[in-house]
């Protein structure tokens, strides 16, 4: 089941869209709001897979970095609900775009495409244990190494280190390095004397 959240200032549009999406067999609208603050307040708890959002909800200055607003949810896919002219570089932040005069068929295919990218990303489910490489990264983290130092030591790119870190947090549910260190010791990945 794909979880969808909607943030759109016009209630007419929002309710209309909700109605349409209800006809999708494997999707569910878990949250819908006209208000950014309410969205921020609920989104991390609800963890939708897709957020359909009107970029006009954001101040012009923020629109260019809209994706960064949801950094803490790396698996969230953004779909732009475009009701007015939006600059193309702003549009590029979205995994898909729904326009005002799209018919239902078109909306469905946009959402399907976005869903497909979801599945390929989720090959390694939450329930998988940490991979050997993730354990290596975790050990380095516990020793107090920074991303670039870990990259050097393991001979991988900083980008890959960051991906491993995201996966570690996703699987363990633990965010802070201090708590991850406790995890590493409890699981006998490192000895206490290895920590500085």
């Amino acid at each position: 089941m794909t979880k969808i959240a909607i943030a759109e200032p016009s209630s007419m549009l929002r309710i209309g869209l909700e109605q349409l999406l209800r006809e999708l067999p494997d999707a569910e609208v878990v949250f819908s709001t006209d208000n950014l603050n309410a969205l921020y307040a609920r989104i991390s708890a609800l963890r939708p897979d897709i957020l359909i959002v009107n970029p006009l909800l954001f101040d012009y200055a923020k629109r260019a970095t809209l994706r960064a607003e949801f950094d803490q949810l790396p698996n969230l896919r953004l779909v732009g609900l475009v009701t007015a002219y939006i600059e193309s570089q702003h549009q590029r932040q979205f995994a898909g775009i729904i326009e005002l005069n799209d018919d239902f068929q078109r909306i469905k295919s946009t959402l399907n495409q976005v869903c497909n990218t979801l599945q390929t990303d989720n090959e390694d489910p939450d329930t998988a244990p940490l991979s050997d490489r993730e354990k290596d990264v975790l050990i380095c983290l516990s020793k107090g190494l920074k991303n670039n130092e870990i990259a050097d030591q393991l001979n991988i790119s900083v980008h890959t280190v960051i991906t491993h870190r995201k996966n570690i947090v996703r699987k363990t549910g633990i965010k802070s390095v201090a708590a991850l260190t406790v995890y590493a010791i409890l699981n006998n990945l490192i000895e206490e004397k290895d920590i500085i």
Binding site: R42, T172, G173, I174, S176, A178, V182, E192
Partner: protein, 239 residues
């Protein structure tokens, strides 16, 4: 969603206090902080507020934050609440966390860690001690920097530059406290071997979830009430 809004229309000063609490248990932690004792029989929220000299708009404001996840007060609702009362509530919440909630959790934690290998148990109790320090530091910052600044604006004195709070730091600190609490619950839930103090662990986790929920509400009070209030007052001053 619709249940919540139905409830908020019912939640009024006329509602029986007992009904409100039976429906929303988390309100139970709010009462002692406002000085409303239990054993109130059939009295309504309004009657009890009057009896214990608690501002009724304040009680309603706090209850809505506790019962409605997406509640944002209107400017009007904010202005009905004396700021001094809000601050007093926040300070007594801090006190409640430090004097009651945390010691309670610590008590469980000590029993829980007792049978464990020293090298693991020290690690966890150190992590907990760090968390506690972080929390104390945050409360202290609020009580020594932010709240005095607010009282200054209220009394319409010139606020000193150094006292200016940083909205972003404020938010960040709340997130950090919740994250750390969450990390600790996950460690205890998932990674301590099954045979270690099973019953004590369940008790401790239940307490931690309750605390985590309460702190999230506390953060909402500050992020959604205090911060807009400061902005409201600041904008008035600049007019």
């Amino acid at each position: 969603m619709s249940n919540l809004s139905d409830f908020s229309s019912q939640l009024s000063p006329k509602m029986k206090m007992a009904d409100a609490i039976n429906q929303y248990h988390s309100l139970l932690t709010v009462l002692p902080r406002l000085g409303i004792p239990l054993g109130f029989g059939e009295k309504s929220i309004g009657q009890l507020c009057a009896e214990h000299r608690v501002s009724e708009p304040l009680f309603m404001l706090i209850s809505r934050v506790y019962c409605q996840d997406d509640y944002f007060p209107t400017a009007n609702e904010l202005q009905q609440c004396p700021m001094a009362d809000i601050l007093q509530y926040l300070v007594s919440s801090h006190k409640d966390y430090l004097e009651n909630k945390l010691p309670h959790i610590e008590h469980h934690l000590n029993i829980l860690l007792e049978p464990m290998d020293k090298k693991y148990s020290t690690l966890i109790s150190n992590f907990y001690a760090e968390f506690r320090k972080e929390m104390e530091k945050h409360f202290q910052y609020e009580e020594e920097v932010i709240f005095p600044y607010l009282r200054q604006i209220l009394s319409e004195q010139e606020a000193t530059e150094s006292a200016t709070y940083q909205k972003n730091t404020f938010h960040q600190q709340h997130d950090d406290i919740e994250d750390t609490l969450n990390d600790l619950s996950n460690l205890l839930l998932k990674y301590i071997p099954a045979e270690v103090s099973p019953a004590e662990r369940v008790d401790m986790l239940l307490d931690m979830y309750a605390l985590s929920n309460d702190i999230a509400k506390h953060a909402m009070m500050e992020n959604r009430i205090l911060v807009p209030y400061i902005q409201l007052l600041e904008s008035k001053r600049h007019d």
